[in-house]
């Protein structure tokens, strides 16, 4: 314990140096900004800024890039709540209840709770990272391909609980997402799959235009359909602050979100996205009245927003202790470390303790800055809502078009976005939720990779998934969830029957 406080004190000493403080602020502000702008993600921004870090000291550059990452988690939720546009996969679930709250004129409360939850989750997760990093690393080290496979399967199941439509259609959407994820070069053999001769599809469909099409463009089409009734725009706010009732409902969700986020963030592959999805379904499960979810339940904002921020912090664990990037952003950070001549991994803690603990402490300071930057700015985001939808939707469309175009500086990604806009609109018409499709798409390639590796290790025996204790535990949890899933589905069927009798 003395060690821990000594280390944190040393880290704080590094983080509060004026230069590092300044770059932490720049990172957090920039992160929020690009998170708010739909279509400009942290990956693109960090890639653009990477060359600029050549001239900076090691600590300052890493602290700034990390700030962009967790700042964007935060900013992404702002657009998710106000415009129903998730800036990041991790804020997809925030749209479900956050945007509903905004439509009811409670955007202020949703944004404030997201800020408070993020600060709390981020702070606690930073402590977790500092205290349990080494222990959690040992646990993560013992994960093998079979365990990952079971874990990803579990993550996909969570997304079915999340959808509020028919379970059958949700499962189908997950399958469709995984199927879309198989497009591109097969990693093991180099075979081109379903690319139809298009070189642009060699690395698969890009996540960004797919998500912007399914959620951004399709939503615009749906909103333009019923003009007159002012859908899409949000009622003016009555209050910026959560009510006492909001706070009472939120704090247990924040605590649970912190726990879920800290835990899932460490696991490679899952990270912030899986954490927010898992937290949402947990809140839905423990709620006394689950039917409130999807209609503006504040727990549905508080839990996932806390969880994704907590997970954004703890996802640094595999990177800092194993040198293993768990997502695209972490891979970019590896690049930034290498530019500075530092090899991330087990030796970093010993060789560069000031950098290691300075980065961890800066995350706490950065989270505090996020709240200080954002609570006054909520007023500014809210002003966006007074804008009529006729003026708002061309702006959103333009951001999406430019964002998609700038990914590879080609029109191809814009066309991909158009295609998924059309598909998304069709899915809305067919009563299918796009969120499970997105998760299937993201986790599908990892599922295939781990399945193939696990079966290679076990010489083709499927028994490996129940023989390994970690995998078996996850599969049992999965089976239990399936049973629980069957119950609300029964209830839903009964509801449908009742509805028919009434009409």
């Amino acid at each position: 314990m003395i060690d821990l406080f000594g280390n944190i004190a040393m880290g704080l000493g590094v983080a509060v140096q004026p230069m590092n403080l300044a770059f932490c602020f720049i990172g957090a502000l920039l992160g929020t900004l690009i998170g708010v702008l739909p279509g400009v993600g942290p990956t693109a921004t960090m890639a653009l800024l990477l060359p600029l870090t050549f001239g900076l000291p090691t600590e300052a550059s890493i602290i700034m890039l990390a700030g962009i990452y967790y700042g964007a988690q935060y900013g992404g939720s702002t657009t998710a709540i106000l415009l129903n546009l998730p800036g990041e996969t991790s804020s997809v679930v925030t749209t479900l209840d956050g945007h509903q709250m905004a439509k009811q004129g409670r955007a202020g409360a949703a944004l404030a709770i997201a800020a408070i939850g993020s600060l709390f989750g981020g702070s606690v997760a930073t402590l977790v990272l500092a205290a349990f990093g080494p222990i959690m690393t040992r646990a993560a080290l013992s994960f093998e391909a079979a365990d990952y496979f079971s874990l990803i399967l579990f993550g996909l199941l969570v997304s079915i609980v999340l959808a509020h439509g028919s379970v059958l259609k949700s499962v189908t959407m997950v399958a469709a997402g995984i199927a879309l994820g198989t497009i591109g070069v097969d990693i093991n053999t180099g075979q081109f799959r379903f690319t139809f001769g298009l070189m642009q599809l060699a690395e698969g469909i890009n996540f960004v235009p797919l998500a912007m099409g399914l959620f951004g463009v399709a939503e615009i089409l749906r909103n333009l359909e019923n003009r007159g009734a002012d859908v899409g725009t949000v009622r003016p706010l009555s209050s910026l602050w959560p009510t006492r009732d909001d706070m009472r409902r939120s704090w247990p969700a924040v605590l649970r979100g912190t726990a879920v986020g800290s835990l899932l963030g460490v696991l490679p592959g899952g990270g912030a996205t899986l954490a927010s999805f898992a937290s949402y379904s947990l809140e839905k499960k423990v709620a006394a009245n689950p039917s409130r979810f999807g209609k503006g339940a504040i727990e549905g904002v508080a839990g996932p927003e806390t969880a994704n921020n907590a997970a954004a912090q703890t996802s640094f664990v595999p990177l800092l202790t194993l040198g293993l990037p768990t997502n695209a952003v972490m891979a970019l950070l590896v690049g930034a470390f290498i530019i500075q001549g530092v090899q991330p991994g087990p030796m970093m803690l010993k060789q560069q303790p000031a950098l290691f603990w300075g980065l961890i402490s800066s995350m706490w300071i950065g989270n505090l800055m996020l709240v200080i930057i954002n609570l006054p700015l909520i007023g500014l985001w809210v002003k966006l809502l007074r804008v009529r939808y006729e003026y708002l939707f061309p702006a959103v469309l333009l951001f999406c078009a430019i964002g998609a175009y700038s990914l590879n500086n080609s029109g191809f990604d814009v066309l991909v976005m158009v295609a998924f806009g059309a598909i998304g609109y069709l899915l809305i018409k067919l009563g299918c939720e796009p969120a499970p499709l997105l998760l299937g798409f993201v986790l599908g390639p990892m599922l295939e990779e781990n399945l193939r590796r696990a079966l290679m290790l076990s010489r083709g025996s499927l028994l490996t998934f129940v023989e390994r204790p970690i995998s078996l535990t996850i599969l049992i949890a999965l089976a239990v969830t399936l049973v629980m899933l069957a119950l609300p589905s029964l209830r839903r069927k009964r509801d449908v029957a009742f509805a028919e009798e009434e009409s």
């Binding site: 379903f194 359909e225 003009r227 430019i402 700038s406 158009v418 193939r452």
Partner: protein, 154 residues
């Protein structure tokens, strides 16, 4: 009353048919790649399984749609659909040749034609303001590589 004389859901029938068809097409496509074995999977193995599952689920939805009453499909907004997506396609095609400002304005002008109440004058002003704002943010701020104006030198 209904084409099948029994309760059905046109939403589920169409959704099921689409998933069944794309699943079958995917399975067919997967078999054009080497399959391999469970021990040493070829590139076609996993997609074949996934598309197979998709086709089976599609068949289940189709069947449910034929037997169980449910919601039908409500009106498809063709005008916004064509204009919004058309504007985006136009942007994708002309961005490099017409330059940033004109392409942005073209997208906004085409897309806003989907809104009946807007005058041409206000659409032009909106297009100009948005293009200018985006130029500041994306070209000046983030350094995106699209030329500002069309290249007029022969």
């Amino acid at each position: 009353m209904t084409p099948f004389g029994i309760k059905h859901s046109s939403q589920d029938i169409i959704a099921g048919a689409i998933f069944l068809a794309s699943g079958l097409a995917g399975v067919f496509g997967s078999f054009s790649y080497p399959m391999g074995t469970a021990l040493q999977m070829g590139p076609g193995y996993f997609p074949a399984v996934v598309f197979g599952v998709l086709a089976a689920l599609g068949a289940a939805i189709l069947l449910k749609g034929l037997l169980v009453a449910g919601p039908g499909i409500t009106g498809w907004a063709w005008r916004p659909f064509a204009l919004v997506l058309g504007g985006l396609v136009l942007f994708a095609l002309v961005a490099q040749t017409l330059g940033f400002i004109l392409s942005c304005m073209a997208l906004v002008l085409v897309a806003t034609a989907a809104v009946p109440g807007l005058t041409l004058r206000s659409r032009l002003v909106l297009a100009l303001v948005l293009a200018g704002f985006c130029w500041v943010v994306f070209l000046l701020g983030l350094g995106i590589l699209i030329p500002t104006w069309p290249d007029l030198t022969p």
